[in-house]
Amino acid sequence: MAKPSEIRIFASKIAIRSDVESSIAVVGNPNSGKSTLFNRLTGLKQRIGNYPGVTVERHVGTMSFDGKKTELVDLPGTHSLSAHSLEEQIAVDVILGRMAGSSSPDGILAVLDATNLYQGLFLLQQLVDLNKPMVVALTMTDAATQSGIAIDVDALSEVLGGVRICSVVATTGAGLENLRSAISELPKSAPPNAIDVWPALRSAAGKLRSTSKSNLSLVECERLLVDGVTERNQSFASELSEEAKGRLLEMRHELFVDEPGIAIEARVRYDWVRENLLKLQCSTPPFYSWRASVTAFLNQPVAGTVGLFLVMAIVFQAVFAWATPIMEFIDGSTAVLSARVGNLLGDGAFSSLIADGVIAGVGSVIIFLPQILILFLLIILLEDSGYLARAAYLMDRTMRSVGLSGQSIIPMISSFACAVPGIMATRVIPNRRDRIATIIAAPFMTCSARLPVYALLIAAFVPADQIGFMNLQGLVLFGLYMFGIVMGVLTALLMRKTALRGPKPSFVLMLPEFRRPNLQTLMFQLLGRVKVFLYRAGTVIFTVAVIVWALAYYPRSETIVPEAQKQRTIAAYSLSGVQLASEYERIEHAASAAQLEQSWLGRAGKTVEPLFRPLGWDWRVSAAVIAGFPAREVVIAVLGTVYAVGDEADEKTLSGRLQASTWPDGAPVFTLPMVIGLLIFYACCLQCAATLAVIRRETNSWRWPVFAWVYMTGIGYGGALLAFQIGSA
C-alpha cells in the first residue's frame, strides 16, 4: 500500500529558490500538451530529476517575464483531484500544498486541451474550487479547428468563474507572450469566482471543516466527503481526529446514501459539463486529417497488431543498423587515444592508469552512446505520438494471460532502452501488485547495457553464416531478446501466482489521437537522458574502471621484473634480430601475465574461481563478472583490461584475445557451451546498481530489490550451469 513516506522521496528534489518570486503549478489532463507547453515557457531553464522517465519525473523550471522570475512546476497529468494512481497522487498533493518540503503553489496554470474539453472541464471545476489565482492555457486549438470544433473563449471564461483564458499553439508559439504575461501577474490576481456546480457538497464541506477543528482546506474537506479516507489521500486525511472520521461517515451517508461518492460526483460534474459544452463549442466542417486515416487503419484489429510487430522490428533494426558506423568510429578513436597517451607518458603506474584504466574503461562504455541515443529517440517518438498507448491496448489480451494488463507494456518496452525509466513508468499502473510484478519483470528485458556484452560474445563466437534471409549472428541476438521477454513474462506469471496473488488487473486507458511529436520536447527528453548516461559514464563507470585498474595493477611483485630482466639478458646472448625481438615480446607478456595473476584482481578471481568453475569460467572471466556487478557494461572494460596483458595480447582485438584464451592445460576457455552459458547469465543476472536503487525507491522497501537480485542472479547461474554441463557432457 502506498504510504505517505513513499512520497517524501520526491520532496528532496524541490529546492526552494530564493531569486524566484512565486511558484506556479502546471496542472492538466494527461496528453493535454502540458509538457510541451512547459518546455516552451521555461526553455533551458529547467531542472530535471535524476532520470527523466516518460513524463513522470518532477520538472521544475523558471520563466522570466518583464524582469520577474516565476517558478513553474510541471505536475504529472491527472483527470481529477481524487487520485487514482501514484502519479496522480503526487500531482494532487503538490496542488493542495501537502507535499512535504514544498510550499503550497501561489497559483495554478491549468492546461485545457481544446480537442478534449469534456474531460478537461471536469478537472477545471475542481481547480476553480481551490480558490487560488488561476489562468487557463487553451492548447491544441489548431487540432480542434482541423477536427471541426470552434470554441467561444469568452463563454468559456464566463462558465469558469471569469478565469483568464489564453489560447496558445505550443508548436508555433502563437499566444505564448500573452500567456507569459498572465502567469507573471498571476500571484497578484484574484481567484476565479466560485461556480457552485454542486452546492450540497460545498455546504457539507464547510460543516465538516468547522466541526473537525483541523487545518483542512475546504477543497480537502470536499475530497474527503467524496472519496472517504483512502490510501491515496493520507497526506491530508491524517489530520482528521477519530471523532471527525465518525462525523465524516455520517455526512457521506447523508449526501450519497448507498452509492459511492465518486460516482455521484462524476454524474453531477459531467452533467454540468455537457450543459455548458453546448454553449461554448460549435461544430464546423472538419478538414481532412492524416491522423484520422492513420487511426482508421490501425483500428482494424489484425492490421493494428501486425503494424505493432512491424514497428517494433523496425525500431530494433534501426538501433543496430544506424549505430554501427558511429560505434566503429568511437572504438577506433579510443584505441588510438589510449596508445598515444601510453606512448606520451612512458612506462609507470600513472601512464598505465590513464591509458589502460581511464581511457580504455570509460571508452568501452561511451561506445554504446549512439545505440542508446537511437533507442531512446525512437521510444520517445512512439510515446509522444501516442502510439505506445495503442500498443498497450492491442497487447492487453496477451498480457492478461500472464496476469498483467496492457498497461504493463509501456514500462516493458521502455526497459529495452534502460530498466530505470522503464520501472519509473510503472507509476501509471494503479494497482500495487500489478505494479510490483511489472517492476520485477522489467529488468529481464534486454537493456542497452546488455547489448555490448552480447555484441562482443556473438561477434567472437558465432559464425556470420547466412541462414535464409537472416544472419546467424543476428538470429542469436534476436533469440536473446526473445529469451529476455519470455523470462520476464514467466517471472510476472510466477509472481502473480505466488507472492503477488490478487484480483485480475483491470484495464482502462485513454487512447490519445495520434499527433506529431514536438521537436523541442523530444530534444529536451533526449538531452536529459544523454546527460544521465554521460554522468554515469563519468562517475560510476569511471570509478569502477580506476578501481579495477588498481586491483589489476597492484601489488607490484618484487620478483617478476628482475626475473624478466634476467631472461632478457639470457636471450640476448643466444638470439639476435627478429628472433630476439619476438623473444623480448614473449617475455614481456609472460611478465604481465604473472603480474596480473598475483594482483588483487587475480587473487580475487582465483578465490571465486571454484564457484564459477562448474560454469566453465576461468579466474579471469570470474574476476570480470564480479567487477561487473555494479554496472554490467563494466565487464567489457574489465575483460579489456585483463586481456590487454598476458599470453593473448598478440591478438589485436578483444574478441580475438577471447578466442585465443586457454586453460593452463591448453584447452580453450571460451567453448560454445561456456559462451552460451555466459550469454544466459547476462540475459538474466541483475548486474545494475541503478536498477536496484530505483526498485528500492519505487517500492519503498529493500525487500524487492534484494529479492530481484537474488532471484535473477540465481536464475542466471543455474542457466549457465545447465548450458555448460549439458553442452560439455
Binding site: R267, Y270, P301, D396, S506, V508, L509, E513
Partner: protein, 83 residues
C-alpha cells in the same frame, strides 16, 4: 426510437449509444465514470483489439479503451443512424 436492454459491450463497431444507467458497485466502473462515462453521455464503439477485447470507444472526441467485462456495467440505448 426503440430502446433495448443493450450494454456498451453489445454496441457494434461504428454504432453509437447513449448511456442510460450505470451499475456503480465496481471500483473500475467508478474510475470510468470519472473519465466521463456517465448517464446521458453519447458514446461510439470505434474498434476492438483481436478477439473483440478490449474495446475502444469515442466519447466527446476522446478515445478510451476498456474491457468487455467492464463495458457490461453500462446500459445504453443505441442511437439509430439519422434518427
Amino acid at each position: 426510437m426503440e430502446i433495448k436492454a443493450y450494454t456498451l459491450a453489445s454496441l457494434k463497431r461504428g454504432q453509437k449509444g447513449i448511456i442510460e444507467s450505470v451499475d456503480t458497485s465496481d471500483p473500475q466502473v467508478q474510475r470510468l465514470m470519472v473519465l466521463g462515462l456517465v448517464e446521458g453521455a453519447e458514446i461510439e464503439h470505434v474498434s476492438s483489439a483481436i478477439g473483440g477485447d478490449p474495446m475502444e470507444f469515442r466519447l466527446f472526441g476522446c478515445g478510451i479503451s476498456l474491457r468487455q467485462e467492464h463495458a457490461r456495467f453500462f446500459k445504453v440505448s443505441p442511437v439509430v443512424a439519422g434518427g
